[in-house]
Structures are given as structure tokens and as C-alpha cells.
């Protein structure tokens, strides 16, 4: 057990790094570019992390630190930067989730990426990503978390832009990185506030510092919101959600791994990690950002026609759910939803990949239809995952989603007033989710084929692809998380991940802090049944509507869309967020950049060159002055001397006799002169 907690996490972290390094440097020398190596290593890693989870279950929390940077005694208390890892419930669970999905995606990609020119590069990037993601969940220091946070951003950038020959992936990769950087700048600022006030980076020290009141009041709220900015970027929350749909330009297994199951959930993980230090105001912000995101993206998903885009918006929507859940205080439910969502959303993306391969790289659902007959395995796994995401009973999604919905009711019940909007939107989103997911399912798999030629060539995917699908679909059953199909409260998962008490002594302000935890739980208990009935009804209505619209075609959808054209277009064009940002932020930055360059060239450098010109112009006048006046004086002196010379020249006759005569006279003159004086 000791080994499993103390040494194994490091090994688990380094194995994907090894995979990355081997493939990056020796990929050309290994047969098949080392895909089998990477996949084997990942499955090994999965086994290890399962063991860590088990060890945690029996032995409990473990944390270790080493000195990373020591700056000497200059800054009291903050001279040392520690590096280390911790194994707690969040980490142990995340290790398994990340490794599991990464391993399945590796396996799946062997077939999916077959024949790609950059096949080995792809697997090395996957290794890099897995390494960074594992580091992110393992570390116990917020600074190191930022380190890995950025590294997952890098691997995401590389993988989104994997097919960089085409224009769209380039742009999408760039957009993803920059939008994430905006969130990360806030994250870093939050870290700075924490460092400044508490002087430490490890979560343990930070929480201890907050508990001791070193960071309190407005600064605490600001720190919480700034840290949350990082989550807003990474988990694609409003208003930084625009990068995620574009990120679908990457290979589909990557979308499943990074942009659905793991990396985008890092934001949720972060919020869960710092949950105990979030002040009431910060939690309010978290809640509303989450619910707004969930709602906006659900409305956008209604009208999208690209299979991956629908799933992308559904991912954003579900992430909003998780964020909202943590915001309302349903910490463990939010995290629970993260885990269940990771499995069924990965399953959805991988089935979408299977469809895309089957349809020979068509992604538009309007060209699909009737695929159930051609791709039965894909269909049933897709159906399973769709049921889960729609919150149909007996699925894992039902357990987590229902709990979240109940929490929103409890939240509104506790707080009253305007907060009632949170459960209303949350339930609305549940209905929308059911509707658009079944719309996707019906259009894609049921009905008649729209593109006969493509349909004829369509085929079921090979086993390497379907096996991960089946496993992930099976994992969407309730039984893996709780034996009670209607509540996970007594299941192993929620027993392990129990909600921590807030450490904010004396600041039990709004939200659930108003009341002792027990009281919140009381509300929750009452809300539970209401929530279940409501959510079942709403999901049922959503699913039914989808069938009415798209399967039985009782309503002419096109006509309906025509009649609410502005709304329809608003949704189809994603609420015009991209256009808005292009017109404002991007245009402003580019404009100011051009302006700066112009200023630099014309004004700043102009002054320098102008100074040079002025100096040269001035030098012309000084030159003239020099020539006429200064040099004139010199020449005058010379002239005078010359004139005298001419005069004296007369005496130089060249005749010795003259000289002698002068000599004699000279002597006589001297004689008289000396005689006189």
C-alpha cells in the first residue's frame, strides 16, 4: 500500500512522458511508429492508477513534497517553492478517469488514424497530453498546477492543429491557445494574490492560510474569481467558450479525450480543488457563469448540423452543469457528473468518430440517416450514451444529473429570490439536452439514408474501435457507481468524495454557507424527489419532442424554423459570439498593433531620424560658419604671415655681399643698442 501511494503516482506520471519521449525521438526506428508501445504503456498505467485508487480507499490521503526552488531568506516565509503530489479522493478518481479514457483512445486511434502521414507524431502528442493531464491532477501545488495547466494547453494546441495543412485547424488551434491564455492570465493573477498574502503554493498551506484569516474579505473573493478565470478558459465557460467548438477540427479521438472527457474537465477539477476557499460571492459568480454557459450552449446545440459541433456544444453545456453544481454547493455531485460525463461523452465522441469513418469523412448529419442497420454496434453504444446524457434512469448520467438538479432546487430553496432562475434554467437545459441528443440520434441513425452512395459504402468499424465503444457504453450504467439506481448517495463514489466543510470561518455568507451543512442537506433531501419527478418529466418531454419532430415528422421542422427565423438564426450562428469577438477584441488588438507599429516607425523612430536630419542640417550651417568665419580667421593669419614673408623675401638677394653688408650694419646697430642700454 505504501508503495502504491508514495512511489506509484510518480511512475504513473512518468510513463506517458516516457511514451512521448520514445515516440518523439525514436518513433522512426520502431515498427508502426510505436503505437503498440504507447497503447500498452497506457493500459499498464490504467492498471496502476486503479491500484492507487484502491490503495487510497484503504489507506487514505497521502501527500509529499520536495524542495523545488529555494530563494534564501529574502522573503520571509515565502522563500521556498515546493513541488510534490497528493493522493486524495479527487486525484485518485481523476487518475483512473484520465488513464482509462486515454488508454481507450489510444486503442481506438490505432485504427482511426491508420495511414495518416503523421501517425507517430500523433501518438507522441497523446503521450505528452496524458503526462500533462496526470501532472495536473496529481500535483499539490497551485503553481505546478498552472504549469501542467499550460502544458495541457500546449498539447491541445498541437492536437487541434494536427492537420495544419488545412486552414480551419490552424485557426482553431491558435484560437484555443489564445483564448485559454486569457483565462490563464487571470489564473496566474489569482495565484499571485495567494502567494502575496499567504506566501505558499501548496493547497494544504493555502487552505491553512485562508483558515487563519491571512486572505479574507474582498481579496479572497477576488482570488477565487481570478482562479476561476482559469477554469472559465479551460472548461470553455461563457464568455470564453468560443474555442471549444472550433477545436473539433482536431482528430475525433482527440476531441473525445481532450475536448470532452479530460482536459476541459480540468476547470471543473480546479474549482472542486479550491472549493473550500471560495467565498460566497465567488461561488455566486461560479454558479451563474455555469448556468448561463449551460443554457447558451444548449440552445446553440439545438440547430447545429455537424455531428461533432452538436457534441461540442453539449460538452460545454454539461461542463456548465458541473461548474454550476459546484457553485451551488453540490461539490461531490458536480465532480460525480464530471466522471460520469467523461465516460459517456467520450463514448459519444468515439461513436461519432466511428460514424465519420464509416461515412468516409462526412460530418454533416443531414447527409446521414438509417445508419443503425449498417453500424449496429456504433448505434447501440451511441444510444446508451445518449440515454445517459439525457438523464434516463438506470444510467450513470441519471444519477449525477438528478443529484445536481436536486441541489439547484435546494439552493434556490435556501436562498430564495432571484436564485430561482438557476433551477429553472437547469431544468430547461435538461430538457433541451434530451431533445438535441435524440435529434442527433434520430437524424443520424434512424430514418432513411439521405446520401445513398455514401450509405452504400458505409460499414461497421473494426474491433479496435468498437471495443472501446462497448466498454465506455457499459461504464455508463448506474451499477458501476451505485447499487441504488435512483440515488448514488450511498454508492462507493459519493462515500469517497464527500463534500468538505468550507474553511471560511465566520464568513458563512450567502449560498449554503448561510446555513450549516446539515440544513442544506435537509433541503436537498426534500428536493430530491421533486427533482427526480421533474427531471424525468422534462427529459421525457424532450425525447418525445425529438421523436415527434424528426422521427414521426408530425411537425414540419423547416417550417417551424422559418416561422421563428431570427431565433433560429441566432442559435445557428452561435449567438454571434465569434462575430462579436472578431469585431471587438480581435479587431481592436490588430488595430492597436498596426497603430503601434506605425507610431514606432513614424514617430518614435521618426524623432530619432529627425534628430539626425536636424543635426545634419545644423551641421551644414556650422560647416558654413566654419568655412567662412573660423577658417577665415585661420586663413587671415596665414595671409598676414605670407605678406610679411613677401616683404622679407626682398632681402634675400642671394648675393653674399648684400648679406655681409647687412651683417655689418646689424652688428653696428646691435653695438649701439647695447651701448645705449
Amino acid at each position: 500500500m505504501e508503495f502504491a501511494l508514495q512511489k506509484l503516482p510518480v511512475i504513473v506520471l512518468l510513463i506517458p512522458m516516457l511514451s512521448f519521449l520514445v515516440l518523439a525521438f525514436f518513433g522512426n526506428k520502431i515498427p508502426r511508429g510505436g503505437d503498440w508501445l504507447a497503447t500498452t504503456l497506457l493500459f499498464l498505467n490504467l492498471a496502476f492508477s486503479g491500484f492507487i485508487l484502491f490503495a487510497f480507499g484503504t489507506a487514505g490521503r497521502y501527500e509529499m513534497n520536495v524542495d523545488w526552488i529555494d530563494l534564501g531568506g529574502a522573503i520571509p516565509g515565502a522563500a521556498k517553492f515546493l513541488a510534490g503530489f497528493q493522493i486524495d479522493a479527487l486525484t485518485a478518481v481523476m487518475l483512473v478517469v484520465v488513464n482509462a479514457i486515454s488508454a481507450f483512445v489510444h486503442l481506438y486511434s490505432v485504427k482511426y488514424m491508420e495511414g495518416d502521414a503523421k501517425y507517430k507524431k500523433y501518438f507522441s502528442y497523446l503521450g505528452l497530453f496524458t503526462f500533462s493531464m496526470l501532472g495536473l491532477v496529481l500535483t499539490n501545488s497551485i503553481l505546478l498546477m498552472y504549469v501542467f495547466w499550460e502544458l495541457v494547453g500546449l498539447s491541445s494546441y498541437l492536437l487541434i492543429g494536427f492537420w495544419y495543412e488545412k486552414k480551419a485547424p490552424q485557426e482553431a488551434a491558435k484560437k484555443a491557445f489564445i483564448v485559454n491564455r486569457i483565462g490563464d492570465a487571470g489564473f496566474l493573477l489569482g495565484i499571485l494574490i495567494i502567494f502575496l498574502t499567504i506566501g505558499a503554493f501548496t493547497f494544504t498551506d493555502i487552505f491553512a492560510g485562508v483558515e487563519a484569516g491571512k486572505l479574507a474579505g474582498g481579496a479572497l473573493t477576488a482570488a477565487g474569481i481570478l482562479l476561476f478565470c482559469g477554469a472559465v478558459g479551460k472548461s470553455a465557460q461563457f464568455p470564453l467558450h468560443v474555442w471549444l467548438p472550433d477545436a473539433m477540427e482536431g482528430p475525433t479521438p482527440v476531441s473525445a479525450l481532450i475536448h470532452a472527457a479530460t482536459m476541459v474537465a480540468a476547470g471543473v477539477y480546479l474549482v472542486a480543488r479550491i472549493f473550500v476557499m471560495l467565498s460566497a460571492d465567488a461561488l455566486t459568480v461560479v454558479t451563474f457563469i455555469g448556468v448561463i454557459t449551460a443554457f447558451i450552449s444548449a440552445t446553440i446545440a439545438l440547430t447545429q448540423n455537424d455531428i461533432k459541433k452538436v457534441l461540442a456544444y453539449s460538452t460545454i453545456s454539461q461542463l456548465g452543469y458541473m461548474i454550476m453544481a459546484i457553485g451551488v454547493g453540490a461539490y461531490s455531485y458536480g465532480f460525480f457528473h464530471l466522471v460520469t460525463h467523461a465516460f459517456f461523452k467520450a463514448c459519444l465522441f468515439l461513436t461519432a468518430g466511428s460514424v465519420i469513418v464509416g461515412m468516409h469523412h462526412i460530418q454533416d448529419i443531414r447527409e446521414m440517416g438509417g445508419l443503425r442497420k449498417k453500424m449496429p454496434v456504433t448505434f447501440y453504444t451511441f444510444l446508451m450514451a445518449t440515454l445517459a446524457i439525457s438523464g434516463v434512469p438506470l444510467t450513470s448520467g441519471f444519477l449525477s444529473k438528478d443529484a445536481i438538479l436536486a441541489s439547484t432546487l435546494a439552493f434556490a430553496g435556501v436562498n430564495g429570490g432571484i436564485t430561482i432562475i438557476v433551477p429553472i434554467l437547469a431544468f430547461g437545459v435538461a430538457g433541451l439536452t434530451a431533445f438535441y441528443m435524440f435529434r442527433l440520434l434520430i437524424i443520424t441513425f434512424l430514418g432513411e439514408p439521405k446520401n445513398q452512395e455514401k450509405f452504400d459504402h458505409c460499414h461497421e468499424s473494426p474491433a479496435q474501435m468498437t471495443i472501446p465503444l462497448i466498454i465506455l457504453a457499459v461504464l455508463s450504467f448506474f451499477a458501476f457507481f451505485s447499487l441504488n439506481p435512483f440515488s448514488a448517495d450511498s454508492g462507493w463514489f459519493l462515500n469517497m468524495v464527500s463534500m468538505p466543510e468550507s474553511i471560511l470561518a465566520g464568513t458563512k455568507g450567502a449560498i449554503y454557507h448561510i446555513l450549516p451543512l446539515d440544513e442544506f442537506k435537509e433541503h436537498l433531501h426534500h428536493a430530491h424527489n421533486t427533482a427526480m419527478i421533474l427531471s424525468l418529466a422534462i427529459s421525457g418531454i424532450g425525447i418525445l419532442t425529438a421523436f415527434v419532430f424528426y422521427y414521426w415528422k408530425k411537425v414540419n421542422v423547416d417550417k417551424l424554423a422559418e416561422s421563428i427565423k431570427p431565433l433560429y438564426n441566432f442559435s445557428l450562428n452561435k449567438w454571434y459570439f465569434d462575430e462579436l469577438y472578431d469585431k471587438t477584441a480581435v479587431a481592436f488588438t490588430m488595430g492597436i498593433s498596426k497603430l503601434s507599429a506605425w507610431i514606432d516607425n513614424k514617430i518614435v523612430d521618426g524623432i530619432v531620424n529627425g534628430a539626425a536630419t536636424v543635426t545634419r542640417g545644423f551641421s551644414k550651417y556650422t560647416g558654413l560658419f566654419d568655412n567662412v568665419f573660423v577658417d577665415g580667421l585661420v586663413n587671415l593669419t596665414g595671409g598676414i604671415v605670407g605678406a610679411f614673408g613677401l616683404l622679407f623675401r626682398k632681402f634675400q638677394t642671394g648675393k653674399i655681399q648684400t648679406y655681409i653688408a647687412f651683417l655689418v650694419f646689424g652688428i653696428l646697430i646691435l653695438y649701439f643698442v647695447f651701448r645705449v642700454f
Partner: protein, 102 residues
Amino acid sequence: MEIGLTHYLVLGAILFGLGLFAMISRRNAILVLMGIELILNAANINLVAFSRYNGLGVDGQVVSIFVIILAVAEAAIALGIVLNLYNNFATVDIDEANTMKD
């Protein structure tokens, strides 16, 4: 009237003045040379006179003999130059021998 040092010195001065005059005014090289000889002899007279009246023993005589010998040598060389001058310019007028000027 007793003949004294002054008389010799006056004689020397007259001789020197004549020699100087000849040197400055004559254009014939031979005459210039003769002027030089006069100046030298004026010096000789002075030397001998000082020697006699100022109790210098024979020093003055020795120097004057030196000067006489020097004058001979000088005359020989100078006459050689004059001869060459005549050969080159067909005259002994020193004003004509001005080719080194300018």
C-alpha cells in the same frame, strides 16, 4: 710720440675697413679675395699687437702664423674655385654666378 698699442689697433681697423669695403663693393672675385686677405692681415696685426703689449708671450705670433697658413690654403682653394668659375661662366664677376639662387 711713442708708438703704442692704439696705433697698431688703428692700423688694424683701417686695414679691416678697407678689406671689408673691398669684399662688399668689388664684383670681381679676385678683388673680393684680396679683401678677405686684408681682413685676415688686419686680424694678424691685432694678434701680434696684443701679444706684444699685453704680455702674452709668443701666443699671438703663433696664432698669426696659423692664420697666415690658413690664408694661403684659403687662397689656393678660393683661386681654384675662381678658376672653375671662370671656366664655367667665362667671367669672374660673382654676380653672374647666380645659378644656385632660386
